[in-house]
């Protein structure tokens, strides 16, 4: 029996003539684990929305062709209703998947129907928190969890589900090693139970273990899916030299740009950073690694002056005496937040990049800078698009373009690999390797992708380790 069968599936969103998916033929047998790998914007997420019964019913749009999920015709209302109960769909943005405000409500809700009472569901929810979110208070607000913790919370719902088909949109994006290990075990269990799993991802980086388990790996582009095709070919990166590097005078200085002395930071009564000492020189690449919830984002916010240390001192040209952000005329600071959407303020990408360019070094005229960075991050033709309408990967690349078009002296990148496809990852690592020695780069990540480029690395202790030691990040 086929778990999923599509013939000539075509879909377009309302008010858009462009077809997101065109003539897609797909077949997945029951009990299979299948990967769909594709560049951002290729329609992977839309496909999962269609198969889960969400699109076009809540999103609007036009769906044509044959679509059968678990033997039900998804285009019919009755079929869709039955499919909704048998399918588990995980959005690629965990913060959008989670809808309740407290962790305990999120953890207990999946068990409410099976347990029959709130108190029984709450007990199960507590077990879930112990297992997936060790060290997190049950009444913590979901909005206070880190990206990885939110992803773990969402994946815990998969464990509680008894669905026949699991549709997972980039499930490993925010997960650390421990989270991934838990996910592998869960996936194995679900496959052993006879469930079918379809995973979409922009690249297979970090999916080594899962690749071994997969029955099929398909590659997707706007034209459809193709077995065994490669998404890694083609032009991979524009050289940094082309970005005007020759015009930049290299300044090698022994004086550190940023110094942290015995910094202590507590959040919500817990010590996140404990006696951290750190120096960052000009042109250095610093990588902060750590598990989900270990305080990577807090560390960046400390260095940027948005968190003030209780004890100790942080000195940098962009900070005032107290260690608060004040900006600097001489040094251009770039910051890629964990959610790239925090960057965009304009209705089209070109205007947004103009805004960034205007506040940057303006090494070259805007038109040539725009062309250069659109090409570098493969955003050609998207300059007139609303950044909010872009796919997750495109949005991340656009945010990176917005950071780098300023030609920053110091760059802080918080989880820069989010939603990035293979080519974009290569572009980013190439860019960083070429900027090294010239700009100071601080990267917080849970992956090992940038370790070969780093001059200094810090590994943040895990939450339980931190509790055992009675403190947070030490350096």
């Amino acid at each position: 029996m086929k778990a999923v069968m599509t013939r000539g599936l075509t879909f377009s969103y309302p008010m858009r003539s462009e077809k997101v998916i065109q003539g897609l033929n797909l077949s997945i047998d029951v009990g299979e684990l299948m990967f769909i790998v594709g560049d951002s914007g290729s329609g992977k997420s839309t496909l999962l929305k269609i198969l889960s019964g969400i699109a076009p019913f809540t999103t609007g749009g036009t769906l044509s062709g044959e679509v059968s999920v678990l033997g039900e015709d998804i285009k019919r209302e009755e079929g869709r209703g039955r499919v909704l109960k048998k399918v588990f769909y995980l959005n690629q943005e965990p913060e959008y998947y989670l809808i309740f405000s407290t962790v305990i409500c999120e953890a207990a809700t999946p068990y409410l129907e099976s347990c029959g009472s709130w108190s029984a569901a709450e007990r199960k929810g507590m077990e879930t928190i112990q297992k997936w979110l060790k060290g997190v208070e049950p009444h913590t607000k979901v909005s206070h969890l880190s990206g990885g913790e939110k992803q773990r919370m969402a994946l815990s719902h998969m464990e509680a589900s008894d669905a026949k088909l699991y549709l997972l949109d980039e499930p490993l994006t925010h997960l650390d090693d421990e989270g991934r290990r838990r996910f592998y075990l869960l996936l194995r269990k679900k496959l052993d139970e006879g469930a079918t799993v379809l995973i979409t991802t922009p690249s297979l980086f970090g999916y080594d273990k899962l690749k071994e388990m997969a029955n099929k790996i398909y590659f997707m582009n706007r034209k459809g899916v193709e077995k065994g095709a490669s998404v890694m070919g083609g032009r991979i990166a524009v050289k940094w030299e082309e970005l005007g590097r020759d015009r930049i005078r290299r300044e090698q200085s022994t004086k550190p740009l940023l110094t942290v002395k015995n910094a202590v930071v507590s959040l919500g009564g817990k010590r996140v950073i404990n006696g951290l000492n750190l120096t960052l020189g000009k042109g250095e690449v610093f990588v902060a690694r750590g598990e989900n919830g270990s305080g990577k984002t807090t560390l960046i916010r400390l260095l940027l002056g948005f968190v003030v240390p209780e004890e100790g001192k942080v000195s940098a040209p962009w900070l005032n005496e107290k260690g608060e952000w004040m900006g600097s005329q001489k040094i251009i600071v770039g910051y890629l937040p964990q959610n790239p959407m925090d960057i965009f303020t304009s209705e089209d990408l070109a205007s947004d990049l103009f805004l960034s360019w205007r506040t940057g070094k303006r090494r070259e005229r805007f038109k040539s800078a725009l062309k250069r960075f659109l090409t570098l991050f493969r955003l050609e033709g998207l300059e007139g698009e609303d950044p909010y309408e872009l796919s997750t990967g495109e949005r991340q690349r656009a945010a990176l373009a917005s950071v780098f078009i300023r030609y920053p002296d110091v760059v802080f990148l918080d989880e820069p690999t989010r939603g990035m496809d293979g080519r974009a990852l290569i572009t980013l690592t190439n860019l960083i390797s070429q900027m090294k020695g010239e700009s100071t780069i601080f990267i917080s990540t849970h992956t090992t992708l940038f370790e070969h480029l780093s001059d200094k690395t810090i590994t943040l202790p895990a939450v339980d380790e931190r509790e055992r030691e009675g403190g947070g990040v030490r350096g």
Partner: protein
């Protein structure tokens, strides 16, 4: 990871222990609890929405504001988001002023004056009433949203899903529910824009101008989130939850009172709709407001 911390622009919200906490609940805190419970019952909101949408009666709306204010006061002590309210407070005042300017009185005006060559402003009892109604409506909505969305005592959406599994309250609440996230997002956006050099502190006008950059990402992000939230609610099958029975009062008098009040409310709403502008029945509004509170009192079992 617990977040938010004292930064140069960040507000710190700490839990304050009330001195009354150890000496038993005061009269005020009991009322607060009752109104809070009423919200948790999941019925407060639909009734409040009906009240806000369909009545122009100032007294009834004033009751609504008071009820919402209790929630707002309660939440401001414990939960975050208080700062966000400051952005909304000027709006009702603006609505009042624009109401006076744009809706000329059709009855005997109290004040008449000329603005420019073409516009004559006529302020009379009916235009004041109309503007005040609108102002109180907006104020009630603002306080209600604030009170509900930042409620630290429980997950309102969860209780509504659990008790009143109906599409309308879920959709209404889920929209309102985005506000705390908007508040948290606002801080992240401010930080990102400061580093980007777009948001700079300076003169008042400069600050207001630069804060304008915040509105667009906040609005768009909340739209995006509401779409994604609708997808999640659908995908998670939350519409299919079987609603457990409503919480009923233990007291027979409370039950009777609630039933009578509810029945009267149903009768009164069309009356209010019928009289609207031309007969501002203040007494009727007051009665309605009291009945509204009693109804909630009965439904929550006297604040159990």
């Amino acid at each position: 990871m617990a977040r938010r911390s004292p930064g140069n622009t960040l507000r710190v919200h700490r839990c304050h222990t009330s001195p009354r906490a150890s000496g038993g609940p005061s009269k005020t805190s009991r009322w607060v609890k009752e109104i809070n419970d009423a919200v948790l019952s999941g019925l407060f909101l639909p009734f409040a929405v009906v009240l806000i949408l369909f009545t122009w009666n100032i007294t009834a709306l004033l009751f609504m504001c008071i009820a919402s204010l209790f929630l707002a006061v309660k939440t401001s002590r414990k939960g975050g988001g208080g700062g966000l309210l400051l952005y909304f407070i000027p709006l009702p005042i603006m609505v009042f002023v624009f109401g006076l300017l744009l809706y000329p009185s059709t009855s005997e005006p109290i004040i008449t004056f000329q603005v420019g060559d073409y516009m004559t402003v006529r302020i009379g009892p009916d235009s004041i009433h109309y503007s005040l109604s609108n102002m109180f409506k907006l104020l009630a909505i603002t306080l209600l949203i604030w009170g509900i969305t930042f409620n630290p005592n429980g997950d309102v959406l969860f209780f509504v899903l659990k008790r009143v599994s109906r599409r309308l309250p879920i959709m209404l609440l889920s929209s309102l529910y985005l506000l705390p996230r908007v508040s948290s997002d606002a801080e992240n956006i401010i930080e990102a824009q400061k580093v980007r050099g777009v948001l700079r502190e300076g003169s008042f006008i400069h600050t207001v101008k630069s804060r304008g950059w915040l509105i667009m990402p906040l609005l768009r992000d909340s739209f995006l989130r509401s779409e994604a939230l609708a997808d999640s609610i659908t995908a998670r099958g939350l519409f299919d939850l079987n609603p457990p029975p409503l919480p009923l009062s233990r007291s027979p008098i409370g039950l009777l009172l609630g039933a009578v009040a509810g029945f009267l409310m149903v009768l009164i709403i069309p009356v209010i709709l019928g009289v609207m502008l031309y007969a501002p029945t203040f007494i009727l509004g007051a009665v309605k407001g009291v009945l509204f509170l009693l109804y909630q009192y009965a439904l929550t079992g006297g604040g159990r």
